[in-house]
């Protein structure tokens, strides 16, 4: 497995809770797309002869890019890299920025999976978190995608939104599930420092549901999704059978991926496990490509023990857990042998269990995933 990620750091407007690298100013978009295409070429020459099994175009809002520009980008990607037959190719879209023409361009360029950011079916809540669309626009985008022929659609939901009730969250799940997307992601809102929402909460202008309410939403949401046929396969991800997101599973298996674009991250085996990331400053990113250089701003060789911890940290997010055979093949020892004390402690707490195939967190362990991982970190 190997993945390709392309970052489109532009949005119509930045959401109140967002701390990803993205800009509401579309001014450098054209320059950025040219640079990105250049980076695609440079990167492909640097790492030839790998077939990629997944592609993910994320953002920002990739659907802000015009049909023509996206077609060009996809074409550049396909001509530079070997994309495996049957590869999963996802693009993130925001309702209100998608139209039939864009969808046609995506399909022509090989996109076969759409990820729609809805967050909530309540218009009031959408406004409160600074989304640019209402529920009707989402329905319209969803309908267009289906009409265009997309057969694999994800819808992103959020809980723990300012003023959100448990009832509202469950009703959003029901409304969305009735449309029948293949995949639903349900994330709890994380208040990130420096975001407008953070300021508002700090200033007492907005209140978030308390910890218990958020926990109730998560528990009830999880039960309802299961009831509606969506199987939980990762902490925040649910899918109909066969539709789990392969691109993300590759991350969680600590597999190799190349990230292209502003602030994108990459990981790959190059004389040991290595991670690197691109410039997060637009000017630095553009300037590097202007000089025909890869826009890498830092890179690190990951020591063996840390690579091992990464495999656990990421693998335990999935319900199937860390695959013992894959772990043994990679490190030459069994995962339970590598962390005897942590494993024993988690067993005692009822947070983890080992099967012949995997080490995985139980339902209780998944709820306490963060605490559970601390046991795997050396003192």
């Amino acid at each position: 497995m190997a993945g390709l990620y392309l970052h489109i750091p532009f949005c119509v407007q930045k959401c109140a809770y967002c701390d990803f690298v993205s800009f509401a100013d579309p001014e450098p978009l054209q320059a950025y797309l040219s640079a990105l295409i250049k980076e695609i070429g440079l990167t492909a020459r640097r790492f030839p002869a790998v077939a990629y099994d997944t592609v993910f175009i994320g953002g920002g809002t990739p659907s802000i890019v015009s049909a023509q520009d996206m077609a060009g980008l996809l074409a550049a990607l396909r001509s530079a890299f070997a994309i495996a037959p049957g590869a999963e190719c996802t693009i993130e879209c925001n309702p209100g920025t998608v139209d039939a023409q864009k969808l046609q361009a995506y399909l022509k360029g090989g996109v076969n999976r759409l990820s729609l950011g809805l967050q909530s079916a309540e218009d009031g809540l959408l406004r409160a978190i600074g989304r640019i669309h209402d529920f009707a626009q989402f329905e319209e985008s969803y309908r267009l995608a289906r009409e265009a022929g997309l057969q694999n659609i994800n819808v992103d939901l959020m809980y723990g939104l300012p003023g959100q009730s448990l009832g509202q969250y469950l009703s959003t799940i029901r409304t969305v599930a009735a449309l029948g997307p293949e995949h639903i992601s349900a994330y709890s809102l994380i208040l990130e420092e420096g975001t407008p929402l953070y300021m508002r909460v700090k200033a007492g202008e907005t209140t978030l549901p308390d910890e218990d309410e958020v926990c109730d939403m998560q528990d009830a949401g999880r039960a309802l999704l299961a009831e509606l046929g969506y199987e939980r396969y990762e902490i925040s991800n649910y899918a109909k059978p066969g539709f789990a997101c392969r691109h993300n599973i590759n991350y969680w298996q600590n597999g190799p991926y190349l990230g292209l674009g502003l602030a994108a991250h990459s990981a790959k085996e190059i004389d040991g496990w290595r991670r690197w990331s691109n410039h997060a400053e637009m000017s630095a990113y553009l300037a590097a490509l202007e000089r025909d250089e890869l826009p890498i701003c830092e890179q690190r060789r990951i020591p063996h023990t840390e690579e091992m911890f990464e495999c656990v940290m990421l693998g335990l997010r999935m319900l199937k857990g860390v695959e013992r055979s894959a772990f043994s093949a990679r490190f030459g020892l069994d995962v339970c042998t590598a962390y005897p004390e942590a494993v024993e402690a988690l067993f005692a707490l009822g947070w983890a269990e080992a099967t012949p195939d995997a080490l995985r967190l139980t339902e209780a362990g998944l709820d306490m995933e963060n605490s559970a991982l601390l046991y795997f970190l050396k003192d």
Binding site: E211, V214, Y251, G259, R275, M313, D367, M368, L374
Partner: protein
């Protein structure tokens, strides 16, 4: 050859923090070419980093300058620096006792402050000639005529001839030196009499051992002599005597009237105590110079390493600090909550803060400190008397007949508009109003008797915030007084946390118990089970809060390919976990112990 005594002037500078003492000292040293401006670090006399940052002088130091006056004669001026804070009153009094005069520096924009006043009275008690100086006349808000009137009205000193100076710009500094020569009397003394040298400071030198800074009152001291400290009875062989240029410069001898240092391979400053008299062991003086006092710590607290593994480093650091600070005491203690640490004694609050800061800064230690305590006197029902500086050692209430707490007399000088709010604060802290006098139309001097245990937390901070920084404050220990005191304990999930116990007045126990319990509820993170927090007096619970159980602890969001962000987050949490203390079953962050000190 000893310097002609009538050409010697020994003096110090009295000033409030920030009124320009160190700057004035710098200018004097430049003017007398004691140090060249080029060589000069700013504020040379303050050698410790913290002193420089806080703009205060902690340890006294000294410097010898030569100045040619308008009469054509060359005078030796010995400037003895004094610490500027209430905690060091005794040290100040000994430095003053080494002088014949004092320059009183008053800020032309601020006027006289409480500590200045206290030190001026101390100087007058020591029969010092006071040379008033008005500083900062370069500032647009300077009101020298008001300040002169204030000096005359409040202290009763004629000040019409006080030099108006700007130490910062060097304006009129020569006039100050001139007045020192003219107004401060030359030292008295008898060179042929048996040696009497007053120790006004002592510092530890890595090569020479503890050095005694002395003012020779009678006789002569030179290398090779056997000397005796009259209070401690220790005897030493003098290896070197010398003067401050301001660096240490060996000389043949120090004679009556002179100021300098004595090195005698002394192991720690505890053996050469401030205020003690050094005499000739072969031909001792009949009596010691007056005024020696053993400086007892008044405020105590437990100091623990945030990471238990740093215990040895903390012990080494304290051992190094006491080499240079005879008023700091420490002894090993253990706390159920905090593990191994030390009970430390300090002269006062600032002293405590300075030591904590030095430990953290100079020795790179992370500390947990317990609530400060004063010394209580306890008479048990069986008649035995106890002295308690740690609440944990207080016997059960049923065994206590009476308890006494230390009282201080506090002077607070503030603009009159803040009198109401300051009096309110003093009342809240069980203060007893004594007196209020107007220093001028808009400034008052408030006198209160206050229990020391009410001012050791945040009294000064409160005073500052309630007076927008204008109030100044000074106190001295007055007496012990019978008081209705109880020990307030805190229980976490049923287990008592000894590090949180405090002794409080009965009438304040409920409010304090509630406030601390609420604060603990905020600072103790949710655990995997519910944690009841109880405030109790004996077995009686007076307040209760609950930290609810943690239901979920999961990072729902996945930051795309940015794995390092999550790894860093986890590493930070792991680090935080290491700094948690175990109280019974409950994990308590180290900061929690400190944050409960800052409740109001």
């Amino acid at each position: 050859m000893a310097y002609q005594r009538e050409l010697i002037r020994n003096f110090c500078i009295i000033a409030h923090i920030d009124h320009g003492k160190s700057t004035l000292a710098d200018r004097m040293m430049e003017l007398t070419e004691t140090v060249s401006a080029r060589d000069m670090e700013n504020q040379l006399l303050d050698t410790m980093e913290i002193e420089r940052e806080r703009g205060i002088t902690i340890k006294a130091s000294a410097v010898r300058m030569f100045y040619t006056h308008t009469d054509g004669k060359r005078y030796m001026l010995n400037l003895i620096d004094t610490p500027g804070h209430v905690d060091f009153t005794y040290e100040v009094s000994r430095a003053l006792a080494a002088c014949e005069g004092a320059i009183l520096v008053v800020d032309a924009t601020q006027g006289i402050e409480a500590q200045t006043l206290a030190n001026v009275y101390l100087a007058l008690d020591n029969n010092l000639e006071i040379v008033p100086v008005v500083n900062k006349i370069d500032l647009p808000s300077a009101q020298p005529e008001f300040v002169i009137k204030e000096i005359e009205d409040v202290i009763g000193l004629p000040a019409e001839d006080a030099p108006l100076i700007s130490a910062k710009n060097g304006t009129n500094v020569a006039a100050v030196l001139g007045q020192v020569v003219e107004m401060v009397p030359a030292p008295q003394g008898d060179e042929s009499a048996p040696l009497q040298a007053l120790i006004f400071d002592s510092i530890y030198d890595n090569y020479k051992g503890a050095l005694s800074y002395v003012r020779v009152k009678n006789g002569v001291v030179r290398a090779g002599m056997r000397i005796r400290s009259m209070a401690t009875k220790n005897e030493f062989d003098v290896t070197e005597v010398g003067v401050f240029t301001p660096n240490l410069k060996p000389t043949d001898s120090l004679s009556a009237g002179e100021v300098g240092y004595i090195a005698a391979s002394i192991k720690s400053v505890a053996e050469t105590k401030v205020g003690d008299t050094i005499t000739d062991a072969e031909k001792p003086a009949k009596e010691a110079l007056p005024g020696y006092k053993h400086a007892n710590p008044m405020v105590f607290c437990g100091i623990y390493p945030a990471d238990g593994a740093d215990y040895e480093s903390l012990r080494d650091a304290l051992a190094k600090l006491v080499l240079n600070d005879a008023s700091l005491t420490y002894e090993a203690e253990t706390s159920l909550a905090l593990g191994f640490g030390f009970r430390c004694g300090f002269l006062g609050l600032l002293h405590m803060e300075i030591i904590q800061e030095r430990l953290e800064r100079e020795f790179d230690l992370d500390l947990v400190t317990t609530a400060p305590s004063v010394i209580y006197r306890v008479v048990k029902t069986d008649g035995t008397e106890l002295v308690i500086d740690n609440p944990s050692n207080l016997p059960p209430a049923t065994e206590i007949q009476t308890m006494e707490e230390p009282m201080v007399e506090a002077h607070i000088i503030a603009p009159s508009e803040y009198v109401g709010t300051i009096m309110e604060l003093c009342q809240e802290r069980r203060g007893i109003f004594i007196d209020m006098t107007y220093l001028e139309e808009t400034r008052v001097n408030l006198k209160y008797n206050l229990p020391l245990n009410e001012i050791i937390y945040d009294f000064f901070d409160q005073l500052k915030s309630r007076s927008r920084g204008y109030a100044s404050f000074d106190y001295e220990l007055k007496e012990y007084r019978k008081s209705d005191l109880v020990r307030l304990d805190f229980l976490l999930n049923g287990d008592m946390c000894d590090a949180l116990s405090t002794i409080v007045h009965k009438d304040r126990a409920y409010a304090k118990g509630r406030a601390v319990a609420e604060k603990l509820q905020e600072v103790i993170p949710r655990q995997q089970f519910e944690v009841p927090i109880q405030a109790a007096i004996g077995t009686k619970v007076i307040a209760r809060e609950t930290v609810r159980a943690l239901r979920k602890d999961v990072l729902a969001k996945c930051y795309g390919g940015d794995i390092s962000r999550k790894k860093k987050l986890l590493e930070k949490q792991k680090e935080g976990k290491k700094r948690m203390r175990q109280v019974g079953t409950v994990s308590v962050p180290s900061d929690a112990f400190m944050s409960v000190l800052r409740i109001n």
